[in-house]
């Protein structure tokens, strides 16, 4: 048991760690742990950025357009949900009313569902209110329900949504508490009725008539409702609300269809406002990277190729690929690479939409948030990408040997890390210079026909004849020499055979 080993190691910090974790583990298998995430302002968030001006979202309810939600500036002027748009405009002169966009809300919810893959693979989409995450299976990995929900909330804040969360042993109770805006953390079933008691009747799935009926009885909260005899309640309200209450309290099963994590990641994000600054762009892209990280964690995979597309409006699109040497899924590292890559992207127009597509996944084992957060210094496999992200892909490469006798064709550029040994073993010192000129440089000759480079060169050692390449139309016929300059440097030069017999400088030792 790793726990025992930790305990016997007499390190004060670790002992404390273990003993504080212990009570958290005690109830981990007894009850499911449903975390509800409620997004009360999602219809507003997907449509516009908060700019302090009065704004409302309207939708058709029973044949009439009604205000669904408004921001603080509009509420201050007296605008409230349920009003007719005309009435709302009368209250607030500059009020902007936007039509609700369920498609964008659904996309945002799916993005969050993918994000949640970082914490659990059991995610339920609760349209239109939010998400449900079954977390009990992940308690141990994260060090108990308290730590897990704290870590999750911190991460949730980075997605930029206003969220209310609540933890409860049944999905219906968790969502009810989250919608009530009560940040409860209920981990056991017996404690549930007390936690639910203050909930107002307005949040329960009751018809107006049923609610009125209960209010006439003097019942205002769920607690008072639950205090009534169950049989009478079913008779008074009908079977459906009674069955819902049974599921709420965990007396009846409440199966939920899980969110199916897709095989590939393909998410688009329509931006609430046009964006032309790289900073704002990377901020928006961060949300996609958080979703990607969740998706990859749920699939225990990493990726090496991120295809980005930037929608510029009127069907125009601009794309680029972020390539990596090794599979990765850490959103912060990916964001850093993206930021550097974005510096080289020239935007043709302001961006309205960002898309991220990842087709190929590669296995990447889980990296649990360990007891020792500092990872030891390790070689950095991401260096080529970091350099490429800022300098361009062409500016970073590896080298490879090509079996060809023509010196200028005996090598080529490759992907970083790709140029392994093509031949078995290495030959002993082969006499080639470590430097090659990108193109042979013609050398002048003096009166006695000697090649010159800052004065006449003196030839040393053996001549090497290279005569080859007749088959592909680029033949070379040359005599190579090592030559010494006046200052003592060694040059690799050759004389063309045939033609004018001209001299060229081709390399340096």
């Amino acid at each position: 048991m790793p726990g025992n080993i930790l305990y016997s190691a007499n390190i004060p910090g670790l002992r404390m760690e273990y003993s504080t974790l212990k009570p958290d583990f005690s109830d981990r298998v007894k009850y499911p742990g449903w975390l509800a995430i409620h997004l009360p302002r999602l219809p507003l968030e997907v449509l516009a950025q908060e700019d302090g001006l009065p704004l409302a979202v309207a939708e058709r309810q029973g044949g009439r357009r009604r205000i669904l939600l408004c921001n603080a500036a509009a509420a201050a002027a007296g605008v409230a949900p349920g009003q007719a748009p005309a009435a709302a405009r009368a209250l607030s002169g500059g009020l902007r009313i936007l039509a609700r966009n369920p498609r964008r809300e659904r996309m945002a919810l799916e993005e969050l569902a993918l994000w949640a893959g970082r914490f659990t693979s059991r995610v339920v989409l609760e349209w239109p209110h939010g998400l449900l995450l079954e977390l009990a299976g992940s308690y141990r990995l994260f060090g108990g329900p308290g730590r897990l929900t704290d870590a999750l909330e911190r991460d949730l804040q980075r997605t930029g949504h206003l969220c209310h969360t609540a933890l409860a042993p049944t999905p219906a109770a968790a969502m009810l508490l989250a919608r009530a805006g009560r940040r409860e953390r209920v981990t056991d079933l017996p404690g549930l009725p007390r936690a639910l008691a203050p909930t107002a009747l307005g949040l329960l799935p009751l018809s107006g008539e049923q609610r009125q009926d209960l209010q006439d009885l003097g019942i205002r909260t769920l607690g008072e409702l639950l205090a009534l005899p169950a049989a009478g309640l079913a008779r008074r309200l009908g079977p459906e609300p009674a069955a819902w209450l049974e599921r709420l309290l965990g007396r009846q099963p409440d199966p939920r269809p899980p969110f199916p994590f897709p095989d590939r990641f393909h998410q688009r994000l329509e931006l609430p406002a046009e964006v032309s600054s790289r900073q704002a762009l990377s901020f928006a892209a961060h949300r996609l990277l958080l979703a990607l990280a969740g998706f990859l964690t749920a699939r225990q995979a990493g990726c090496r190729r991120l295809c980005w597309s930037l929608g510029l409006g009127e069907g125009r699109e601009q794309g680029f690929v972020l390539g990596l040497q090794l599979p990765e899924r850490d959103p912060e590292r990916l964001l850093e690479l993206l930021r550097q890559r974005l510096e080289r992207v020239r935007l043709a127009a302001p961006v309205r939409e960002i898309g991220l597509r990842v087709e190929e996944l590669e296995p990447l084992a889980g990296r649990p948030a360990g007891l020792f957060p500092e990872t030891p210094a390790r070689p950095d496999p991401g260096l080529p990408e970091r350099l490429q992200a800022r300098l361009g892909e062409g500016a970073v490469c590896g080298l490879e040997v090509v079996p060809d006798h023509r010196p200028e064709r005996a090598w080529r550029r490759t992907e970083p890390g790709a140029g392994g040994c093509t031949e078995a073993g290495h030959r002993p010192w082969c006499g080639r210079p470590p430097w090659l000129l990108p193109a042979p440089r013609p050398l002048p000759v003096d009166g006695r026909g000697r090649p010159c480079l800052d004065g006449p060169l003196s030839l040393e050692g053996e001549r090497e004849r290279i005569e080859t390449g007749w088959w592909d139309g680029r033949p070379v016929a040359r005599d190579y020499f090592v030559a010494r300059t006046a200052s003592g440097a060694r040059a690799w030069i050759y004389r063309e055979l045939g033609g004018g017999g001209r001299w060229y400088l081709h390399g340096w030792y």
């Binding site: 950095d380 496999p381 260096l383 970073v396 080298l399 010196p407 090598w411 392994g420 003592g488």
Partner: protein, 209 residues
Amino acid sequence: MSANLERLLQHHPELRRGPGMAAAPEKGIPTGFPVLDRQLPGGGWPGRAITELLVGGGGAHALGLLLPALARLSREGRWIVLVAPPWLPYAPALQAAGVDLARLLLVEPAAEPDRLWALEQALRSGGCSAVLAWPRRLRPSALRRLQLAAEAGAAGGFLFRPFAAAAEHSPAALRLRLAPAGDGWEIDLLKRRGGWPLSGIRLPLRPAE
């Protein structure tokens, strides 16, 4: 020899080490030239510091001098990075010298500031064993940054600079001037940690096998 010294130091309290040599220097990267190794603190190129190689003579480009060390480092697994070399590093010659080309990274930024950036990134990353660069101009403050980056990333930084740079103050751990001479190199150690300057070390063109 050193065992005798140790015995002398132990038995004669009036003998003591000079302050510069008190701490044994960190082990260096063997250069492949025993004559040179004997003169370098740590017995080789500094493994986590900047080495300045001042080269002159229009063509003494000295990459050959580093090849034995690069061959050894390339088998260690981390990257060997060449930032903006003046010509093409010739793959067949590097491979013949034993360098594993799979570990070699050629970085060619277009602009001078990007070169400095790439150089510092590579040194600091921890993923490189050696970083070679041919900077045109280098302020002492930039050199100090690079020295810190090399320490942080445990990388050997090799800067090839013109003779004229010898006049500038330098925070580099090792500074040497080299020129072609006879059938090999002549090296002057201008600065080394824990030792005096030394001139006139003769090296052959090819390392001892």
